[in-house]
Symmetry: C2
Subunit: 216 residues, 2 copies
């Protein structure tokens, strides 16, 4: 099995998950900025055309970040990050979906349709007129989560989970491209610093980040 990897907050999230679990894999590096992930040699393997992905020894390609983490956890059950009972797995999974559908998808699409439009307009169906609204909706979701974080260190329980890594990698990237962290969200801000100080946060940064100044 190998990780098909690149710069970007989504590949970083999988690397952060792997760092938290102590998993190392051989990597195939694609040039995301140059669009190598939109070339036929990749989309034949992953028709979604997005990064990252896992390629298994039999050639099966498993894409989609949350799916990849779930697969890695099945193959490497300890330490369990996604839960170790049906109930704790469900709580983890529920928070992942709330964070993605309520916050991070809107942050990412807000970026793709505005600051990222030059890069994405020929890769994805873009909706420039939605960008400001999507960014505002993401902030609305963060405000909701800020209230729920009161008294809690992490989103889905006492320990760091996948929802934390998804949101952290998204916000750390987004704050460099026009979506700063609102200091008035005290619980989110404290949680962000908590995530930022984990060794996996630094260990998961792509080698190109020092040069680009971006966090992905």
């Amino acid at each position: 099995m190998k990780l098909i990897d690149s710069f970007g907050p989504n590949p970083r999230m999988v690397r952060m998950f792997m760092a938290e679990k102590g998993i190392e894999l051989p990597k195939e590096e694609l040039d995301l900025m140059g669009g190598q992930n939109r070339e036929k040699s990749y989309t034949d393997r992953n028709p979604g055309g997005q990064m990252p992905a896992l390629e298994l020894d039999d050639g099966t390609v498993i894409a989609e970040t949350t799916t990849m983490c779930q697969y890695l956890e099945e193959k490497h059950p300890t330490p369990a990050i996604l839960g170790d009972t049906p109930e704790s797995r469900a709580v983890s999974s529920m928070w992942v979906r709330r964070v993605e559908l309520g916050i991070t998808e809107h942050m990412y699409n807000g970026f793709r349709y505005a600051e990222g439009l030059g890069l994405f307009k020929d890769r994805l169906y873009c909706i420039p007129e939605a960008a400001d609204g999507l960014k505002a909706k993401a902030q609305d979701g963060l405000k909701w989560l800020d209230g729920l974080l009161e008294g809690n260190d992490y989103i889905a329980g006492a320990n760091v989970g996948l929802a934390d890594m998804i949101l952290y990698c998204c916000m750390d990237f987004a704050q460099g491209v026009g979506q700063p962290i609102d200091a008035e969200l005290k619980n989110i801000s404290a949680w962000f610093q908590r995530m930022n100080s984990r060794p996996s946060a630094e260990a998961s940064l792509h080698s190109s980040c020092a040069a680009s100044g971006m966090r992905g």
Copy 2:
């Protein structure tokens, strides 16, 4: 365990999954149109405020449709719909995420911000100016999927899967509220009829549908 249930395409999707698996559960019915799912007695249990949810005997509430199906599959492993190996579970999960993030979330939000705005404007952060673009983006996603469906009966393999149920319930609802099925998408249209003829499609309709004329 009980199902907290209502009218709507998302609750219907969980009922369709249960029908395919032969699972029956006691139900607590909430008035979605009347906003009972936005009242404190429900949001204290499910802070997402969305329908449906499962309430376990110990009071734990598991929300988010895909999470609920995953939990039900863990408790009732056969017949397996989400896969019976780590690899087949990953393929199922990957397609669920592709369909949700690439198609159905855009269809649902396009509805909420336009035809559904009267109902949703005081419940959710809405982006009316994004509605047309979101609907067009969903069609762009369906066109992409139409090509991939060539020669295949179902989205993620030879058998009906969760991605099929998510997309079917969304499209069946959406076609009644301004997002018709494009007949030029031949593979999608044939797949839709295939889904529509499954006994679970009729069995999962809410009792209020006959009166409302809507499919949810």
